[in-house]
Amino acid sequence: MNAFKTIKSRITPLDIINVDTDQIIPKQFLRLIQKSGYSDYLFYDWRFNQNGDPKKDFVLNNPLYSNRMILVTKENFGCGSSREHAVWALLDYGFRVILAPSFADIFYTNCFKTGLLPVVLEKEEIHHLFNIGINDYVEVSLISQTVSIDNRVMNFQIDPMKKKMLLEGIDEIAYTLQMEKRITDYEKKNENTCTRINII
């Protein structure tokens, strides 16, 4: 997993609530069997016409917003399907941080697994970020749990284990495997309970 500490970048604003994962990456691109190569498919139907030409009015097609690592958006980002491809597409495109007032649960969980940082800020703070200058830089520090712009510092909450995993780029499975004995003990204790019969 990609470790994450601090990032300083200009922002890309996406002023829509309830952005669902079908928009982040449409289903025709879920047929691949690898975790990368999704950059061109991010927001595909919003970015391109039926004939594949870029739609001029979509923010990712505006050259002023190229090469940015922070996406600022609105409530309930990532709702709908559990497809982790949505996270892979955002990362492949170059985003490392998503700032929003709220996220859908499965998407939020998925982000941490591959090194994309979802940050929940207050509505008013997001409103402020939508109104900063187009070339203003925003600094996001996972270590201090802050989003900073000019003189303003906004704090955010994050689960301590998720923070540690992301900061150190820890493999979550390797971490869990250290608890092997506890899992085995649990299985032994419960192997004869009616709901956990070896079924096959």
Binding site: I17, N18, D20, D22, Q23, L30, R31, C79, D105, T176
Partner: protein, 479 residues
């Protein structure tokens, strides 16, 4: 201590906390939860297996894992080769992975193949009191059996394959009471109930919670109908949906392939009857009530499952829908533009091009049977292309045994092989740009059923009636 049903299942499956010395860990940190059942399909699993292989890891409990092909397979003649090369690769990859890691696969030709959330219950794989995961958000369906069932991403699929556990912050309990009496219970379906709930609480109303549905009506519903409700819990943003098991639930399990038998089944029944219910004074983080007395058949008009109205309504004006919220107003304007609809248009005046009866929401025998009652002796509109896609091979066989296929075919509907099909359009079952579809599926997002396609979510009987007339009709006039 008084506990909700969800809290009981959670506590039963909790192996560890991140830091067991931390006070109030349930509120602060993640817990390690044991998973009893894991369902796998071709789309969200290849990267997980590849990663296992690269790291030299094994599947911990292949005996608690089953796989099927459902998302991208064709629903036409199964004896023909799969035309789409990338889909074919994904299908062959799952076959190879299941073989290598010792997982039972219900392949295309299996009599048990079908949509994961249809076959899990059908096989008796889904049991009360269990924890169930799948790399698919509609795993919430299995909550109808009193299981804690939720969708996960591919990294967590890998985590569960390797460790049979998952890290999770404990969701809160949310109670939805469903009260009152439906005026016409045959015309007002469980799909109308869940769409009304999402309309009321919004697409993020259930975020961070497990919704328990309760009420006299719920106890009167069949397992099929309960599954429709739990299935769409995710459309309200909930982590899972839950209905306490009762005799209907337990009777459903008898004789199923993987369900416990004999004494084991008796033990499960006893456990379920004595324990799997929320305690009378259990605390719920949030409580909502839905009164069903006045519910009409529901039709979605926009591009998320909260944009829903009664079939007797007209398309709302954005201000009316938004109720003062500027973000919602902008979203409604965008949705109306995408859907090519004018505010003030009666729902029954909306003409449709396609009808899709299928998906993990509404593709079980009872759904098809109800739709067939509307279709019987009638012909579909010549302007509509209508498809019925049974949820599984078992559903298809049973439906054919009672002659449902003939009713649909005689009315001009296509009768197809089982799969996810046009619910998400990963195979060739898609809408063309601009086409309008009455669909029994669960999501009306932009492009969901095909780029530029326009989806209206409805119940199976509403979809069937729309296919006959070529536009939406109030199905209460027919039933």
């Amino acid at each position: 201590m008084q506990k909700t049903l969800f809290e009981k299942i959670w506590d039963q499956h909790k192996i560890a906390n991140v830091d067991d010395n931390e006070a109030n860990h349930d509120e602060l940190g993640q817990s390690l939860i044991y998973i009893d059942r894991h369902l796998i399909h071709e789309v969200t699993s290849p990267q997980a297996f590849q990663s296992l292989r690269e790291r030299g890891r094994k599947v911990r409990r292949p005996d608690l894992t089953i796989a099927t092909l459902d998302h991208n397979i064709p629903t036409t003649n199964r004896s023909l080769p799969i035309a789409d090369q990338t889909s074919k690769t994904q299908i062959e990859t799952l076959r190879k992975n299941c073989k290598e890691f010792g997982i039972s696969l219900f392949d295309i030709y299996s009599p048990y193949q079908g949509i994961v959330h249809v076959i899990g219950p059908e096989l008796g794989f889904t049991l009360p009191g269990t924890t169930i995961v799948c790399g698919d958000s509609h795993t919430s369906t299995h909550g109808a059996f009193g299981a804690f069932a939720f969708g996960i991403g591919t990294s967590d699929v890998e985590h569960v394959l390797t460790t049979q556990c998952i890290w999770m912050i404990k969701p809160k309990s949310f109670l939805v009471n469903i009260e009152g009496k439906r005026k016409n219970p045959h015309a007002i379906t469980s799909k109308d109930i869940i769409l009304s709930i999402i309309r009321k609480i919004g697409t993020s109303g259930g975020a961070g919670t497990v919704i328990e549905y309760r009420g006299k009506i719920i106890s009167e519903l069949s397992m099929e109908q309960r599954m429709t409700i739990c299935n769409m819990s995710i459309e309200a943003g909930a982590r899972a949906g839950l209905i306490a098991p009762d005799e209907t639930t337990l009777n459903y399990l008898i004789g199923r392939k993987y369900a416990p038998k004999g004494n084991d089944l008796d033990t499960l029944f006893e456990y379920s009857r004595n324990y799997l219910t929320s305690d009378p004074n259990a605390h719920f983080h949030r409580v909502e009530t839905l009164k069903v007395d006045q519910i009409a058949p529901q039709v979605s008009w926009g591009t998320n499952p909260s944009m829903v109205c009664d079939v007797t309504d007209t398309i709302p004006y954005p201000d009316e829908f938004a109720n003062g919220d500027e973000n919602e107003r902008k979203l409604a304007i965008r949705a109306l533009h995408y859907m090519n609809l004018q505010p003030g248009t009666p729902i029954i005046d909306i003409k449709i091009d396609r009808v899709f009866i299928g998906s993990c929401t509404n593709s079980r025998v009872e759904d098809l049977w109800e739709a067939s009652l509307v279709v019987r002796g009638r012909k579909k509109s010549p302007y509509v292309r209508a498809m019925v896609v049974p949820g599984s091979q078992q559903v298809k066989m049973e439906a054919e045994k009672i002659g449902l296929d003939r009713i649909f075919k005689e009315a001009g509907f296509e009768w197809r092989e089982s799969g996810c099909s046009m619910c998400l359009g990963m195979n060739s079952d898609i809408l063309s740009p601009g086409e309008r579809c009455a669909s029994t599926s669960n999501r009306n997002f932009e492009g969901r059923q095909g780029s530029g396609g326009r989806t209206h979510l409805v119940s199976p009987i509403m979809a069937a009636a729309a296919a006959i007339e070529g536009h939406f009709v109030d199905v209460r006039e027919w039933i």
